[in-house]
């Protein structure tokens, strides 16, 4: 039995969701979907999932997951869970696209009677939603803390003033009880670090959340250290300096710097890097409240902290994507403005060069001018980004593309004495715009030649069609060199427009354009590199371009 038949056989026997499960999922606020078979055909979606994707149940069910979320990073995870039968979670890293929300997934297999996976349950959470929840909880907690003080104060006032009166006493006791219940709820929360100190800053209470966040047990810190001891010392010093300047009072770099504003009754929420027991660090948002007795004297401080890592990452991603968007807009505008005068200049030069009366002596100068303007034209075309010249996609032979592009680089190959290895194991054509595939190959090979040193090796490979992510069969092309490689810190930025390590000779557009072209053809691109070892670029391109008809069918 071949694997395809086997898969169908397994898929046919996926039972319907039991009604209790269905009831629970239908009422769940978390988006859940079930996909069956190797092609991940959606069998069930709950209302939250419909809401998340903005599609109705009828539009989703019966389609493959890759049709619903094309290009999504969850698809390889989905394949793995289906193949291995082991549950996995996946959090999308920041997106290169302009997208403010990103998702995380929990996936677990649906096992058949033979204990083999027949399908996968997928739960999606929007990371941005968690951020929002965290912010809301933080605000709620702050309100609660304020309210708690009010309640305590109210109870104490009532208790003192109306001690003789039974009804009043009862009220006061009730208020105190309510305050105590709130206090317990807050201190038992594992999501917030709540640290209470005495007036000198020595930690008196260190809740579960603080233990989890900071890695210390309560016993290790209580009555021993102050919150300043688990904060970044440089930041504490900086904060003391800033406060001294702001308030005109010398403030010691230590615990005082963390609570001074709160001690003066000023509401104080700030960012501070905390240091865990193991020495690792994380950004925290800290809110400070002074605890006072009945005579308004400060008896201690309450510091409530939340881990700000996720928000920081999201902010960075947002800033990055905004930067990219503005660069793109700028590039498009400038290019447009340059193109017309550039075209006229190129035309005029052509007219002069082809004038039969032109003296031979100026011809070489003209050729230089034309070549240089040709370079400008090349850059504006790249900047304009994969401008799609009409010409329908045709059958393209990647081996022929690679070989003919390599021919162009012939002189550079010989100069550098580069050994070229070819292993083309596939004759399968892809459907693509020929010129754009040449640009892809040319951009990647140009990078390889820049990276290769004298006598280096270049290896070009083609592999036959494989089913990637279920339905789509892809041809794989790899171009590997044993050149200089790319430093780890540059790797994550190489697909950004205008990012270059080649200073004056690079436009910083090659890989960006290449990846956009590959994306446009429904393919995928991956680049792996190690400094001093070399670089491997892998590109998957679909055999057939998916047509409009298939998607609506």
């Amino acid at each position: 039995m071949d694997s395809e038949t086997n898969t169908n056989h397994r898929t046919n026997h996926v039972p319907d969701l039991p009604s209790l499960c269905r009831f629970i999922f239908n009422n769940s606020p978390l988006p859940v979907a079930m996909a069956v078979g190797a092609k991940h055909i959606v069998r069930y979606v709950n209302p939250a999932f419909c809401f998340l994707t903005g599609k109705s149940e009828y539009e989703l069910i019966g389609n493959t997951f890759s049709e619903i979320l094309p290009e999504d990073e969850c698809l390889p995870v989905l394949d793995r869970v289906y193949c291995t039968g082991e549950a996995e979670t996946h959090t999308e890293p920041e997106h290169s696209e302009i997208k403010t929300a990103y998702w995380s997934y929990a996936m677990w297999p649906v096992l058949g009677a033979d204990e083999r996976p027949m399908g996968v349950m997928i739960r999606v959470t929007e990371t941005a939603m968690f951020r929002q929840q965290a912010i809301e909880m933080n605000q709620e907690l702050l309100l609660t803390a304020v309210r708690q003080h009010e309640l305590i104060e109210e109870a104490e006032r009532l208790y003192a003033q109306l001690q003789g009166e039974m009804t009043a006493r009862k009220l006061a006791e009730e208020a105190l009880f309510r305050a105590g219940a709130l206090q317990r709820a807050i201190f038992n929360s594992a999501n917030f670090s709540s640290i209470a100190t005495d007036a000198n800053g020595i930690i008196q209470i260190f809740n579960v959340g603080a233990e989890r966040m900071l890695g210390y047990t309560a016993a290790e810190v209580m009555n021993k250290i102050t919150p300043a001891d688990i904060s970044d010392p440089q930041e504490v010093i900086a904060r003391a300096k800033a406060l001294s300047l702001e308030l005109g009072i010398p403030i010691k770099p230590g615990f005082e710097a963390l609570v001074f504003k709160a001690s003066r009754g000023i509401e104080d929420i700030y960012e501070l890097t905390k240091v865990r027991k193991d020495g690792s660090r994380f950004p925290a948002i800290v809110s400070v409240t002074a605890l006072r007795d009945a005579q308004e004297a400060i008896i201690g401080y309450l510091l409530i902290g939340t881990d700000n890592t996720a928000r920081k990452l999201a902010e960075e991603a947002l800033i990055r994507s905004e930067k990219l968007a503005s660069v793109g807009r700028l590039a498009a505008t400038i290019t447009h403005e340059i193109n017309n005068p550039l075209s006229s200049a190129l035309n005029a030069l052509f007219l002069v060069r082809t004038d039969p009366a032109l003296p031979q002596s100026v011809k070489s100068h003209l050729t230089i001018a034309e070549q240089e303007l040709g370079r400008v034209a090349h850059i504006t075309k790249q900047t304009l980004g994969f401008f799609r010249e009409v010409g329908n996609p045709t059958a393209v032979d990647l081996a022929e593309v690679l070989d003919s592009v390599l021919d162009i680089y012939g002189p550079r190959l010989r100069d550098k004495e580069i050994t070229v290895l070819r292993s083309y194991r596939s004759k399968t054509g892809i459907r693509a715009v020929d010129g754009e595939m040449r640009q892809v190959a040319s951009n990647i090979l140009a990078n390889s030649f820049d990276a290769l040193s004298q006598g280096g090796k270049l290896h070009m490979r083609l592999f036959g069609p494989q089913a990637i992510r279920g339905a789509r069969r892809m041809v794989r092309m790899t171009i590997a060199d044993d050149g200089a490689g790319i430093a780890a810190e540059n790797l994550k930025r190489i697909f950004e427009p205008f990012f270059t390590t080649k200073q004056s000779i690079g436009t910083g557009l090659g890989l960006w354009v290449t990846s956009e072209l590959v994306k446009k053809h429904g393919g995928r691109m991956r680049l792996r590199s190690r400094l001093g070892k070399g670089t491997v670029v892998t590109i998957w391109l679909p055999m057939e371009r998916r047509g409009q008809e298939q998607r609506t069918a």
Partner: protein
């Protein structure tokens, strides 16, 4: 006869001159409406038109030309990334248009012009 349409006078003029030098008879027009008058008068075999022009853009102009049913071929040239979508929209209405990205090198343009004039397709 080839009619060149571009609101950039220098571009339209130089293109027309290049075509003349290559042996084609050619005229320049600086707007779609002016070009439509030339179409009536001269019945060109091919129109090379910019896309982003004031008043009437190149795609709408091509639609107008196709409605005349004179068997004229149209090649659009654009320096703006957004025009691709306009051309595709026209394509979905049954009008398939050739499009080149600015800046077009004169040699490339002449090669494309020869191809188009050899083909049977017209708007």
């Amino acid at each position: 006869m080839i009619l060149v349409v571009d609101d950039e006078h220098a571009l339209a003029d130089t293109l027309a001159l290049i075509l003349e030098r290559a042996g084609y008879k050619s005229t320049a027009a600086y707007s779609a409406s002016e070009a439509l008058m030339e179409v009536e008068k001269q019945r060109p075999d091919l129109i090379i038109s910019d896309v982003m022009m004031p008043v009437m853009n190149g795609v709408d102009f091509a639609v107008k030309v196709s409605e005349l049913r004179l068997g004229i071929k149209v090649l659009l040239i654009s320096g703006h990334a957004g025009t691709q979508d306009m051309v595709e929209a026209a394509g979905s209405d049954g009008l398939s248009l050739d499009l080149l990205a600015k800046p077009v090198l004169p040699e490339d343009l002449l090669a494309r012009v020869a191809d188009i004039l050899d083909s049977n397709y017209s708007v």
